[in-house]
């Protein structure tokens, strides 16, 4: 891999041991990829929290510098971590300290999270603590080279915004923060951003549920190739397109897609394909929609619902308002829990708007900083979940071994109120 002089100085230790370790990892990583060089970045979305018991023990034993060294730089030597160079934000975490009781935490855990947050803030990382940093002001500009983790965020900024990132990991984002570099590979390069596959959308996709189903289908058929969609007749709003991407990134490994005149980089199908022929062509019609729905509901049998999860990816304030309109004046069933997830900054807005109160009065909780899949936590005794998120419905049964219903927001609120699932594809 070709390094610039500046990069060589970093590797040689001019900027200290931590930067040297970071550059060393980037070189190992870049060579593993077969990248020809590094590219400058000043926008990193990362995970530096201690997201597992192993990491928490490690931090308790060796300290936060050692934790960052090992798990964000792949350095067994505990180096002193300086202020990060790039704009950097923490993605979603495993815990919401404001709801530690519901989440089965302890005051000790809350305390150690606070200490770690102070450390992370101190080295210059913004504690957005959400899988959707673009909803709280980190909106990369088209063409901006980024180093982001979190598949639903990666697909959003690549496709909808036209920024450039691969799906990075803890260690590469750690190294990127300290060096302002990331391998120039994959979606940083023009030609890799072109569509390879064509998906002809024949069903009239408009609702949030349908956007999720379309995404789920697309991910299954294209895997990690780059689809372009034809036939989309309704411009999705931001929470629909967010759901679509999160869904496609979970059933497949889609990190980039095009919808002419809707996503950032293609004004036409031809544009998106770079004037080449598609490698594969698929169609999404009534049968494919039904199949995606059935796949998402494959684990579900029992119509008694214990738990409703909303806000995957983390809800915007508009989505919280949609929930409140359905929930207002109702009560969540006594045997059922309703948890709604949103970035902490947006929860402040929800408080101000009286939405938190509407949710609380109905017996639900508006939570932040985590989600059941990431935090691997459910209300005690949960056997059956319902959600309006295809991504959550994809992961929860596998991770938590529960049944999961996928349906519309209305189906979910009905289930919250009645304790029974009566949803279905309409």
């Amino acid at each position: 891999m070709k390094l610039s002089d500046e990069e060589k100085y970093m590797l040689d230790g001019r900027d200290g041991r931590a930067v040297q370790k970071a550059m060393d990892l980037l070189v190992r990583y870049g060579e593993a990829l077969g990248a020809e060089k590094l590219v400058e970045t000043s926008n990193v979305s990362t995970t530096v929290v201690a997201s597992s018991g192993l990491m928490r023990e490690y931090a308790a034993k060796y300290g936060f510098d050692a934790l960052f060294s090992e798990f964000n730089l792949d350095s067994q030597e505990a180096v002193e971590i300086p202020m990060v160079k790039t704009h950097s934000c923490q993605l979603i975490t495993g815990f919401d300290a404001a709801h530690w009781e519901q989440l089965g935490g302890t005051p000790e855990r809350v305390q150690s999270i606070k200490e770690h947050e102070a450390y992370n803030a101190g080295i210059g990382i913004q504690l957005m603590s959400t899988c959707a940093p673009y909803q709280v002001g980190n909106i990369p500009v088209k063409g901006e080279h980024c180093a982001w983790m979190e598949s639903s965020a990666v697909i959003y900024i690549n496709s909808v915004l036209g920024a450039r990132t691969n799906c990075e990991g803890r260690e590469s984002t750690g190294a990127a923060m300290l060096t302002g570099r990331i391998p120039y590979w994959g979606y940083h390069i023009d030609e890799n951003r072109l569509a390879t596959d064509l998906v002809e959308v024949e069903w009239e996709v408009e609702s949030m549920t349908d956007w999720g189903l379309l995404g789920y289908y697309v991910g299954e058929v294209v895997g990690d190739r780059v689809p372009v969609l034809s036939g989309v007749r309704h411009v999705p709003n931001s929470y629909r397109i967010k759901h679509f991407g999160a869904s496609a990134a979970s059933s497949g490994g889609v990190e980039m897609y095009h919808i002419p005149k809707i996503t950032a980089e293609a004004q036409s199908i031809e544009d998106a394909l770079g004037k080449r022929k598609p490698q594969y062509t698929f169609k999404f019609g009534k049968a494919e929609r039904q199949k995606a729905y059935d796949r998402l509901n494959v684990s579900a049998k029992d119509t008694n619902v214990d738990f409703i999860m909303l806000g995957c990816p983390h809800a915007s304030i508009e989505q919280i308002w949609e929930i409140c309109k359905l929930l207002k004046g109702k009560r969540v069933n006594s045997g059922t829990q309703l948890w709604i997830f949103t970035p902490r900054a947006i929860r402040e807005l929800a408080d101000r708007n009286g939405y938190t109160q509407i949710i609380t009065e109905a017996g639900g909780f508006l939570m932040s900083d985590t989600c059941p899949a990431l935090g691997q936590v459910l209300p005690p005794g949960t056997k059956v979940v319902a959600t309006d998120s295809a991504k959550q419905a994809h992961y929860l049964p596998a991770i938590m071994g529960i049944q999961c219903w996928f349906g519309s927001l209305k189906d979910c609120i009905d289930a919250a109120v009645t304790g029974k699932w009566s949803g279905g594809l309409r």
Binding site: Y29, A32, L33, F71, C167, G169, R170, E171, G186, D224
Partner: protein
Amino acid sequence: MTKIVLHGRKVVGGCAEGEALVTRDTISGWGGINPMTGTIIELQHELQGQSFKDKVLVFPGAKGSSGWSAYFHMARMVGAAPKAMIFNIMTTKAALGTVVSHAPTVTDLDQDPLDMIETGDWVKVDADNGIVEITKKKDIQRDETTTDSRLGAAEQRSEAASV
């Protein structure tokens, strides 16, 4: 006893050998493996319930969440990582995850390792030189009745590829 030798590109340097664990399903990190035991936990995965700990993991590539590298990183920390890895499709997840696993890893082999290697084969990954040596399990079994294949392996390093 014959060996099959494949040539590829180093992803992570080093040299290690062990029993192969092969799958045609791509692997998820988060939601796909238990890093404490190296067990594949994804529902309906071909290897569900099996552990790659101390095995040579042969797989098409990585999929799923960006937690991939962290999960293989943790597996390495607790000694549950594969001994070596071989995969086909390069992604940032696979590259970073294998780098931080510190397991010798190769890719871009001249023949599809999924066709050439079966679970139970003995595989040596000399990643520095991009060489994979496969001893088929039927040969191991035959050998085991005569001589120790593990000892024999060392003497046959310079042998020409059988394919």
